[in-house]
Structure formats: structure tokens, C-alpha cells
């Protein structure tokens, strides 16, 4: 399935949700295909950050299964019409994970896969951090942390006012939850009983200056979200079946927003990047890219 496969796109071009089932007739990818997709996404991420010479591999690699589950199994969206009014929305609040989002968007068909290599280059549509006006499929400009959930609330409230039934997914980093605005928004989403919002915390345990537990302790994180009146689901953020179950369960919750705390590994899939804080915001060298691609072969 990877790379050039667009068979999932129905004639209308709309990507529909689907379960992991051999009897699935929707064209929705199987578990094996998803694992293969994840491997390709990781290869894209490492390659393009290496080519760019700067970027954030750690928090991009940790988000691969979350993003691919959303775009290939959960959300209803249309790569041929990125601003289709009825689409489910994905909002990347941790804007530095843009390479992961770009890789997924390219695999979906929002823009050519070859364009991924223009990341961070002059005149590219792929800016260093997610940019709403630059890239087809990107919903929000991000890069300054803490803002995505507020934006998502606005999108969800607008949907409610317009009687649309789209769902809004917002991905935050765990370190991002240091920002006060996240908790202003958490309070507001619960106040407005926005069950059309599912937040995902990419809980990889590290931020730029080190382990969250040393820089600024977030725990008990699930209890914090519960105290803000959110429905909390914890899951392995690299297990497709668990992730899909979590998204399905979250959408069934009515009268309050849900948050999926996805336990992930920063740098997942590349041995020397895993749990290595140095690769938060550092590009791999050419030799490191080569080594990483061998591991991801």
C-alpha cells in the first residue's frame, strides 16, 4: 500500500473510517498495511529532516502511529478538497512535528510525495512548522506551543452552530501541557461540553531540556485532565489496534470532551534516537540518516 497507493480514495476522493478486518470492503488498510505505512512514514521523516539539515525528528517519530491511524482509519477527509466543509479536522498543536504530518498528508495524496524533500527550503510549501496558508491539508498555523486546543474549540463550536457533525482532533505534546493556555482551553472545552473534540497527548516523556519529570513535572497527567472534566483514555501510542479502539471509544463519549493520553517513545523506530533527548530538535547527519534507513528497511 505505501507511497503511491491511492486506492483508498473513493471516486469522490473521500477517505472513510474503517476497522481492521479481513472482510473490510471499504478499501481501508489492514493492520499489516498500516505497519508498512508507518515504516515508510518514518523513512520519509528521517530522510527529509536529514536533507533539510534541521528539524525535530524525535517528536515526529513518536507521532507516526497516532497520525496514520487518524488519517487512514478514523477521519473522514478528502485530499482532493482539503477545505471540504464537512471534513473531520486534525489540528497539530505541537507544530514542530510538522514533518510527520507532511509525510502523512503526502501519503494521503494532499500533495506529491516528491515535494516532501523541499521541507524547510526557500519557497517551499512545507514550512519548518505547520503553516495553514502554505500547505494543503494543514488546518492551523502552529509552532508557538499551547494554542491548538483553543483553535479546536473554535472549530468545534462553529461546527455546532452550523449543525455540522464533523469531529475535531487536536494533538498536543506532553511538554506542551506546561503552557497555561492548554488548561484555559481544557476548562472551556469541558464547559461547552464539546464531545466533538478528541485531544491526543503524544506522551513521549521528554522535552527539549530533558525529561519532563526533571524539567517540569506533569504527573499525574490523567488526573489533571479528569479534574478538568475530560474523559481520559490511556493507550499505547504505537499500537494500531489500541489506538483505533481508543478513537472509537472517545467518539462514543457524549457530553464531555475526550483526551487520549498516548504513551509513546520519542524517536520511535530508530534505535539511536529512541528516548534520546538530543534528537528533539537536531537533524541526523548523512551517516545517521543512512544508519536509520537501514533499521527502517
Amino acid at each position: 500500500m505505501p507511497s503511491s497507493d491511492t486506492s483508498k480514495s473513493a471516486s469522490a476522493g473521500i477517505v472513510k473510517a474503517g476497522a481492521f478486518s479481513s472482510a473490510d470492503k471499504s478499501g481501508s488498510p489492514s493492520l499489516e498495511e498500516m505497519k508498512e505505512l508507518a515504516r515508510h512514514l518514518r523513512r520519509h521523516i528521517v530522510t527529509i529532516i536529514g536533507k533539510a539539515g534541521s528539524g525535530h525528528p524525535g517528536g515526529s517519530l513518536s507521532a507516526v502511529e497516532i497520525l496514520s491511524t487518524l488519517y487512514f482509519k478514523v477521519m473522514c477527509h478528502n485530499p482532493a478538497e482539503p477545505r471540504w466543509p464537512d471534513r473531520d479536522r486534525f489540528i497539530l498543536s505541537k507544530g514542530h512535528a510538522a514533518p510527520a504530518l507532511y509525510a502523512v498528508l503526502a501519503e494521503c495524496g494532499y500533495f506529491p510525495i516528491a515535494e516532501l524533500e523541499t521541507l524547510r527550503k526557500i519557497d517551499s510549501r512545507l514550512q519548518g512548522h505547520a503553516d495553514r496558508n502554505a500547505t494543503p491539508g494543514v488546518e492551523m498555523s502552529a509552532g508557538s506551543l499551547g494554542q491548538g486546543l483553543s483553535f479546536g474549540i473554535g472549530v468545534a463550536l462553529a461546527g455546532r452552530l452550523s449543525a455540522k457533525d464533523y469531529h475535531v482532533y487536536v494533538m498536543l505534546g506532553d511538554g506542551e501541557c506546561d503552557e497555561g493556555q492548554v488548561w484555559e482551553a481544557a476548562m472551556a472545552a469541558a464547559h461547552y461540553k464539546l464531545d466533538s473534540i478528541t485531544a491526543i497527548v503524544d506522551n513521549n516523556g521528554l522535552q527539549i531540556d530533558g525529561c519532563n519529570c526533571d524539567v517540569m513535572n506533569l504527573e499525574p497527567l490523567p488526573e489533571k485532565w479528569r479534574a478538568f472534566d475530560w474523559h481520559v483514555i490511556e493507550t499505547d501510542g504505537h499500537d494500531f489496534t489500541q489506538l483505533l479502539n481508543a478513537f472509537t471509544a472517545a467518539k462514543k463519549i457524549k457530553g464531555q470532551p475526550s483526551v487520549i493520553i498516548a504513551h509513546t517513545i520519542k524517536g520511535k523506530g530508530v534505535s539511536f534516537m529512541e528516548n534520546n533527548v538530543d534528537f528533539h530538535g537536531k537533524a541526523p547527519t548523512a551517516a545517521e540518516v543512512e544508519k536509520a534507513l537501514k533499521e527502517l528497511a
Binding site: 503553516d131 495553514r132 498555523s141 494554542q147 483553543s150 473554535g154 493556555q181 482551553a185 472551556a188 461547552y192
Partner: protein
């Protein structure tokens, strides 16, 4: 004495009117809807009014998300909190993506009065004008406020509109027609030009009256739109009157005076005097006392005109 009217009340009333004709208008506030008078809209359209509590950063983000989903959000609070309290949110969520968000703030300038320097926004216009793509307006009175708010609703793109707390003299005539980015000629004259915005327009007209008694003919321009500035009106004033005084309820840095000076140095430098808060904060006091203490009265403007005329060649 001219009739006085509240810009805030005019804003609230205009929002209700806009709400009746456009279902996409939504209104956000941060626990100040009684003071900003957006509560008038909330009373008639409770389903389209969102008081997010004391959380200005969240308010701006929510407004951006609504704008990205086809709504026309008006977000309001005091000018000290917006953009100051949430400048990064305005920059990142509104200005960079150029979303159709209308930020309308009240309690601008030192005429806030007794609440003191914490509540006197004198940096806000500089911050708002620094943002690429923003339209920034400081209306002179209630009449202009109505028209500026309607213009913001009609035009796609981010707006910052700054209103005052006290009732202000009505200076715009009944047939006044506000145009975004266009200065309004309030008084003809050829000896010097006073360019004013907001509350200072009334003071500029009073100064022109004082100077008329000395046979000094002052042109008065109401420069409600600070960005984009009406360059041709500034250049014409320089050409035809040869001297300019600006008057604003704001720091000298980054406000109307700085903007006019920039236009002049690039086109036609002429002697110029700046009436402003200079580079200092205010204090508690009655609005009129504060305007007097900090040199923002008609007398101060008139004196600046006499000075600038002496500097003409």
C-alpha cells in the same frame, strides 16, 4: 458643548444590528461583557455569544478557530489585555494565517482614568500596527465607531479597533462616511495640519478653534485608520500646509506620530511636533485631569502648532 456619546454603547448596538442581518457573526468576551457592552449581543443571541471567562489567550485561539470555520468572530476585552495579554496568540493564530478575526477593544488610553496605569493601554496600537496584514482603527467618536465596526464586518481580514471608556464628544457629522484607510478632513486650513486619532480628534478641533482666533488656519485630519495609513492625505498636508502636529492617546513609540513621521521621511519631510504620552506611564485620576497632566489637551495641541509653524522655513 457638543453632544457626547459612548463608543462602547455604539459598538454593542452595532453588533446587535450586524447579528440580525448575518447569522455568521459570533461574539466572544473574557468576563467583561458588561464593560465592553458585547452583552447587548449576548442578550439577543445567547447561542452565538461566548464568554470564555478570564482567559484572553484562549479567547483569541477560539476566535481564530471559528474564523477558520466560516464564522465572523468579534472578540472583545480591555485594550490592556488585547493584544498585550495574548500577543503571541494574535500573532500566531490570527495575523500569520490572516484569519478573519475582529478584535474590538475598549478602555484604550489614559482616559480610562481612576483604574490607573495597569488599566491604561498606551502601547496597544503600536503592538497591533506591528502585525502584517492587520487593519488598525481608533475611531474618534460613537458615529465613527458604528461605521468602523460595520466596515470591519464587511471586509475579510484581521481588524483591531480601539475604543475609549468615557463618553466622547460627537465630532463626525450626520452624513459622515467612514472609509477604511482614508483620513477624514474635519477642518480646512493652510498654515499647519493637525493629524489626530481617537479621543484626540475632539481636542484637535478645539485647538483649531483657539488658533483661528490668532488667524492661524489649521487643517484637521481625523486619521482613524492607523494601518494602512492614508499616505496621500499626509503627503498633501505636508505639501499644502508645510507643518504637521500629530495628537494621540498613546506612547510616542509606534503610534500615530511615528507612523506619520515614517510617511514624511520617505516622501516629504516637513517640521513636525508630536503630542502623545511620550515615553511614560499614567496614574489614577479623572480622565480630564490626566489629559491635562500629560499634555494631551487642546491647549497643548495649539501650543505645538505655534511651535511647529515657527520651524517652517
Amino acid at each position: 458643548m457638543p453632544q457626547e456619546a459612548s463608543q462602547r454603547e455604539a459598538y454593542g448596538r452595532t453588533l446587535v444590528e450586524l447579528g440580525r442581518s448575518s447569522p455568521d457573526i459570533v461574539v466572544l468576551d473574557a468576563d467583561l461583557c458588561k464593560s465592553t457592552m458585547t452583552g447587548m449581543f449576548a442578550a439577543e443571541f445567547p447561542g452565538r455569544a461566548f464568554d470564555v471567562g478570564i482567559a484572553e489567550q484562549n479567547m483569541v485561539g477560539v476566535a481564530a478557530g471559528m474564523a477558520a470555520s466560516g464564522k465572523v468572530p468579534f472578540a472583545s476585552t480591555f485594550a490592556v489585555f488585547l493584544p498585550g495579554r495574548c500577543f503571541d496568540q494574535v500573532r500566531m493564530a490570527v495575523a500569520q494565517p490572516r484569519l478573519n478575526v475582529k478584535l474590538v477593544v475598549t478602555h484604550g488610553g489614559i482616559s480610562v482614568g481612576e483604574d490607573g496605569p495597569s488599566h491604561q493601554a498606551i502601547e496597544d496600537l503600536s503592538l497591533a500596527c506591528s502585525l502584517p496584514g492587520f487593519t488598525v482603527i481608533a475611531p474618534a467618536d460613537a458615529v465613527e465607531t458604528v461605521q468602523a465596526v460595520k466596515a470591519a464586518a464587511a471586509q475579510t481580514g484581521p481588524f483591531y479597533i480601539r475604543l475609549g471608556r468615557p463618553k466622547l464628544p460627537v465630532v463626525c457629522p450626520e452624513d459622515y462616511q467612514f472609509k477604511v484607510g482614508k483620513a477624514a478632513l474635519m477642518r480646512r486650513g493652510n498654515d499647519a495640519t493637525i493629524i489626530a486619532s481617537g479621543i484626540m480628534v475632539a481636542g484637535a478641533l478645539e485647538a483649531a478653534d483657539l488658533l483661528a482666533k490668532e488667524n492661524i488656519g489649521c487643517r484637521v485630519l481625523n486619521m482613524a485608520t492607523l494601518k494602512p495609513i492614508d499616505e496621500s492625505a499626509v503627503i498633501s498636508a505636508a505639501e499644502e500646509t508645510g507643518a504637521i502636529v500629530t495628537a494621540e492617546e498613546h506612547l510616542e513609540h509606534g503610534g500615530l506620530g511615528s507612523i506619520v513621521a515614517r510617511v514624511l521621511v520617505k516622501n516629504l519631510p516637513v517640521p513636525m511636533e508630536l503630542i502623545s504620552m511620550d515615553d511614560r506611564y499614567g496614574q489614577s485620576g479623572k480622565p480630564a485631569e490626566l489629559l491635562q497632566r500629560y499634555g494631551l489637551t487642546a491647549k497643548d495641541i495649539a501650543q505645538a502648532v505655534r511651535t511647529v509653524i515657527k520651524r517652517k522655513h
